[in-house]
């Protein structure tokens, strides 16, 4: 193991020597890193990796960063890296993988996810966008929503209904669709913060080659599970130090303003406590995962994170006092997702409302905990055994 790590370290140094970051074109450098198997070291050889354990990835990334190598701007392609890549790894053919994975990893091609619809939110399996077979293609029609990055994406993961006459989970099929295809209309969706972080995507007779299908026809729900599982992982994230994360602004604002607002001490302390409890629980969960015995805490941590982020951003306004009424920017614009935006507390009060909706609502998290962790029975289901088309909508 230690030999293997040393060997890997040598490989990285050799690569850096052969491709000095300062003298190498960014895209060429990244493509070469992918080809050398130093992109995702746990991926197969030929697909950006070396079939190693993913625990060694941080050391590789650190070595590249230390050498001043360009990174693949992961924040610009979160869905591609976090969700599309593992889904392709599991479900795509080798040929598909070789086409899609390299530019995905280098960031040359950004990915998005066409899953949610106005009528299929928490109940994702209810998607109504349809695909009809026509020769070697499928013809897709429908409307998707909450699509972040649709406006910068080359490819999308698409979940559609190919058979409305069977129960809802059975009639779905999963495709990769070229966002440059005719018939795709991406419209910015302005949200309550003023920004347009998400999009609505209208699909009007969009042709998708059958060769871009992942999994069998009717197997779309299973493929979707792979994608969603990785979404949850991505949301987990790392454990910061004390007073970072959702309470950071609150605590620093408090230390500035506390002399004027002593009545808020107990409220602030309560959230300090909640933040530290969540941080320790996240650390415990991460330690268990590192040891190879991951627990079922993810849904609970997401739930607690949303509550904490919302409560903290709300109290920050109370602590801030008169200036809290000052907003910064209501103009409709695309947020820069690569760095956390430097915005006023009022912005965060509004933005954190989404923490309990995006990536699985808090209500869905509670269902998951109750059923999968605590083993409580599912509620009576009225839509399980009937054809999708017969479900009341």
């Amino acid at each position: 193991m230690i030999d293997a790590e040393a060997e890997l370290g040598r490989r990285v140094q050799e690569f850096l020597a052969a491709h000095p970051p300062a003298q190498t074109d960014r895209d060429r450098f990244l493509r070469a890193r992918f080809e050398a198997g130093l992109a995702w070291v746990d991926y197969p050889v030929g697909l950006g990796g070396l079939d190693l354990d993913n625990s060694v990835q941080p050391a590789v990334d650190a070595a590249f960063a230390a050498a001043g190598a360009p990174d693949n701007k992961p924040q610009s392609n979160v869905i591609g890296l976090g969700m599309a890549a593992p889904t392709l790894l599991q479900w795509a053919t080798r040929e598909q993988q070789e086409r899609w994975l390299p530019p995905l990893w280098t960031g040359e091609e950004v990915w998005c996810q066409l899953f949610s619809e106005p009528g299929a939110g928490s109940d994702l399996a209810a998607v109504g966008a349809s695909a009809r077979r026509d020769g070697e293609d499928w013809v897709v029609n429908g409307q998707k929503v909450w699509t972040s990055l649709a406006h910068t994406s080359r490819w999308a993961l698409l979940l559609v209904r190919t058979d409305p006459t069977v129960p809802k989970h059975q009639g779905l099929t999963y495709f990769v669709v070229d966002m440059q295809s005719p018939g795709i209309d991406v419209r910015a969706l302005r949200q309550l913060t003023g920004e347009a972080e998400f999009n609505e995507v209208y699909l009007d007779d969009v042709r998708v080659p059958d060769a871009q299908r992942l999994g069998a026809v009717g197997e779309g729900w299973r493929v979707t599970q792979t994608t969603l599982m990785n979404e949850r992982v991505a949301i987990g994230g790392s454990v910061g130090s004390r007073e970072t994360g959702p309470v950071a602004d609150l605590i620093s604002m408090w230390r500035e303003a506390r002399a004027d607002r002593p009545e808020l001490l107990d409220d602030v302390t309560r959230l300090w406590v909640d933040a530290e409890a969540l941080r320790l629980a996240s650390a415990l969960s991460a330690q268990a995962a590192e040891r190879g015995t991951p627990g079922p805490e993810g849904s609970g941590l997401k739930l607690a994170f949303a509550q904490l982020a919302q409560a903290s951003s709300s109290l920050t306004l109370d602590v801030q006092g008169p200036q809290a009424l000052r907003y910064d920017d209501w103009t409709e614009h695309r947020p820069d997702l690569t760095t956390p935006p430097d915005r006023v507390p009022g912005y965060w009060y509004l933005r954190t409302r989404a923490n309990s909706i995006e990536g699985g609502t808090s209500e869905v998290m509670r269902n998951i905990i109750a059923e999968r962790v605590l083993g409580l029975p599912a509620e009576p289901r009225v839509d399980k055994d009937i054809a999708w088309k017969d479900i009341p909508k």
Binding site: S116, P118, G119, A120, G121, S122, D123, A126, V145, W146, L189, R190, Q191, L192, G194, R261, E263, L264, D267, Q310, S314, L317, D318, G321, P322, Q323, A324, L325, R326, Y327, D328, D329, W330, E332, G346, Y349, L350, R353, A354, S356, I357, T361, S362, E363, R366, E379, R381, V382, D383, I386, I391, P392, K393
Partner: protein, 367 residues
């Protein structure tokens, strides 16, 4: 049972409420309010038409004033009915600022001339105090004889106003808005925008001095806090009703979403808070409107801080749950849920936070 004032609407209240609601429906549908949030200036034509309807047609700006003050000889109880209706519609007009804050202050200072102007709605008053702070005399303002100088931040209604009432520790002053520099700010609640007010050694009319000025500010602070609760009640009522309606229609998992028990129980809890907030707001309004010397009038400081301790957080909670229970759609700009959320949160900060009012209350009732 201790004798409490009636907390039920009188017949005339119902008529008043219906008249205001009708006017709002005609002149200020929610989409129009939403649209006006993007306008560079507040109080555009649509909002002005609503204002005119309220002040000219219905004549409700001077409800609690005596006839000699240009008023309708009603009480703050009736004003509360108007405030609640405007809260339901999250109306972007300076009614609360001018007809409650400024008017209660002018009334307490006995500024009859000003009151007559405010009662017509042709003059619009604003109080130069940060909206998100306890309503108190401001030390940021310097007084040099009858000239005032200073800068007060994030004042609500200054942009719409024609007259500025300036509470100073030693005097209550009146300045024409045109004599001040008003810098608009992008505002968390764009239906009630705030601005910085700069007074560059401006000549002012002294409305009251010394202890009299202080008492006037205190009385206005109590009346305003009490009346704000009715706005919060209106916000909460509308938010809850619209959420219930949405959940009665929205389907997921083949079921009406409102049939899911976890959501039903949350809505039941919110409704339970709402019926209590209603009683608290009605009591505060009754105390504000009670005749001097009565137990209710005497209880106004308690009722006002109680109202802001209770109704502010309830309105915020309901508005937050409204966004949450609408799912993604409640997070969009085009859905009005966010207007209620922003107003509710700003109102909870306004005129002293709930935590600040709890401290006041504790002093009042010897806790």
């Amino acid at each position: 049972m201790t004798e409490l004032p009636s907390l039920l609407p009188h017949e005339v209240d119902t008529d008043l409420r219906d008249a205001v609601a009708k006017l709002l429906e005609d002149r200020s549908p929610i989409d129009a309010v939403l649209h006006r949030c993007d306008a560079p200036e507040p109080f555009g034509d649509g909002a002005r038409a609503l204002w005119a309807g309220l002040t000219d047609d219905l004549g409700v700006a001077g409800l609690p004033l005596a006839e000699t003050e240009g008023g309708a000889e009603a009480t703050w109880r009736e004003t509360a009915v108007v405030v609640e209706a405007l809260g339901r519609a999250v109306a972007d007009i300076p009614f609360f600022i001018s007809a409650v804050m400024a008017t209660s202050l002018a009334q307490a200072a006995g500024a009859t001339g000003l009151l007559r102007d405010l009662a017509t709605g042709h003059e619009i008053g604003a109080v130069v105090t940060p909206f998100a702070a306890p309503f108190e005399p401001r030390a940021e303002v310097g007084l040099h004889g009858s000239r005032v100088a200073g800068r007060v931040s994030a004042v609500a209604g200054a942009l719409e106003s024609t007259q500025l009432l300036v509470p100073h520790p030693d005097a209550l002053l009146l300045v024409r808005t045109t004599d001040a520099t008003i810098t608009p700010l992008p505002s968390l609640d764009m239906t009630r925008r705030v601005a910085d007010v700069e007074l560059a050694t401006v000549e002012a009319v002294v409305l009251a001095e010394g202890r009299e000025a202080q008492q006037a500010v205190q009385r206005a602070a109590h009346v305003s806090a009490a009346m704000l609760a009715s706005e919060q009640l209106g916000l909460a009522e509308y938010s809850l009703e619209s959420t219930v309606q949405y959940l009665q229609q929205r389907r997921q998992f083949g079921r009406v979403v409102g049939s899911f028990q976890a959501l039903k129980h949350r809505l039941a809890d919110l409704w339970t808070l709402l019926i209590q907030a209603r009683a608290v707001a009605r009591y505060a309004a009754a105390c504000a409107g009670a005749e001097e010397g009565t137990a209710a009038a005497h209880d106004l400081p308690v009722a006002a801080s109680l109202a802001q301790s209770y109704c502010g957080p309830v309105a915020v909670k309901i508005a937050e749950e409204c966004v949450q229970l609408h799912g993604g759609i409640g997070f969009t700009w085009e859905h009005p849920a966010h207007l209620y959320l922003k107003r509710a949160k700003v109102d909870a900060l306004a005129l002293g936070s709930a935590a600040w009012h709890r401290r006041e209350l504790a002093k009042q009732v010897d806790l």
